[in-house]
């Protein structure tokens, strides 16, 4: 049997998004079928099939989770973590402006670091409580950043890519960081 591993990012996505009861079963089924498909076709064809299954499965499972009534609890958890994240970011910003440097240029440099750290921490906390909450948290972060960009909160003129970075990397940090930590944790005892 060929040694193979399915597309890493697709696995991360499934691990982050799928609801708890069937996450392991769905991932296991896909990995098993992927291995069989690699034997009979090519790695490219098998990976394309894996991605197609991932993209089509996520909406079905998320919708099913919403219909089954877990939605309210999941959104509440996401909202709680979102408030926690906001408090953490406010405290960090205050500390930077008072203790580190009141200079605006320094704050522009440090802002993305603080933002990505808090979103990553928020993602990990949300995933620890309930996996599905990370999707809603990412959605809240996207909406907040989009509103802040639209309101032109930043007093210093910054390039478009600086704002675009916040809009894309923030939600990604919420989703990917817990999956990344989960993967590292899984690898730990094996080695």
């Amino acid at each position: 049997m060929k040694t193979c591993s399915p597309p890493t990012f697709a696995c991360w996505l499934l691990e982050s998004v799928l609801p708890d009861p069937y996450r392991e079963a769905i991932l296991g089924d896909l990995i098993e079928e992927y291995t069989l498909r690699i034997e009979s076709t090519s790695r490219f064809t098998a990976s394309r099939w894996f991605w197609s299954q991932t993209c089509r499965s996520v909406p079905s499972m998320v919708w099913s989770s919403l219909r089954s009534g877990n939605c309210f609890m999941t959104v509440s958890i996401a909202m709680g973590v979102y408030i926690l994240m906001g408090t953490l970011k406010f405290a960090a910003d205050l500390m930077i402006s008072k203790v580190v440097s009141p200079d605006q240029a320094t704050r522009v440099i440090l802002a993305p670091i603080v933002f990505l750290t808090t979103t990553a921490i928020g993602g990990c906390v949300a995933a620890r409580i309930r996996r599905g909450a990370t999707i809603f948290l990412a959605l809240f972060v996207t909406i907040t950043v989009a509103i802040l960009i639209d309101l032109k909160v930043c007093s210093i003129p910054v390039p478009w890519w600086y704002q675009f970075g916040f809009l894309t990397l923030g939600p990604l940090a919420v989703i990917i960081t817990p999956a990344l930590f989960g993967r590292l944790k899984q690898r730990g005892p094996v080695t």
Partner: protein, 110 residues
């Protein structure tokens, strides 16, 4: 007939697949059976979402199998059709049969 006993099309197909597979089956086997017989390339997520719904209705039961290396150390979720599921299938089949009775002559015009 109770309202809850009416099956959706995917529910109907998945229950039939479980009857055909005759025993405990996991999601990917069910998906493969449907693809081979109907040519419908449905997603594994849709299969599990439907199985979850059927389980909530009491038509199927599930249990966790042993984790295996070829599944990346992940356990299977095995499903089995229950008596209530077989009854729902029969009612659904009867309903379709009564609705399609004497329609053979008209198929050409529909």
């Amino acid at each position: 007939m109770k309202r809850g006993e009416l099956l959706g099309s995917l529910e109907h197909i998945i229950l039939l697949a479980l009857v055909r597979l005759d025993g405990d089956a996991h999601g990917m086997i069910v998906r493969r059976e449907i693809e081979e017989r109907t040519g419908r390339n449905i997603s594994i997520g849709a299969v599990y979402a439907t199985l979850e719904r059927l389980e909530a209705k009491g038509y199927v039961s599930s249990f966790t199998g042993e984790p295996t290396p070829e599944r990346g150390g992940r356990a299977k979720r095995l499903f089995r059709i229950e008596a209530a599921g077989k009854r729902a299938l029969q009612i659904s089949e009867q309903t379709i049969r009564s609705m399609t009775a004497d329609l053979k002559d008209r198929w050409g015009t529909i």
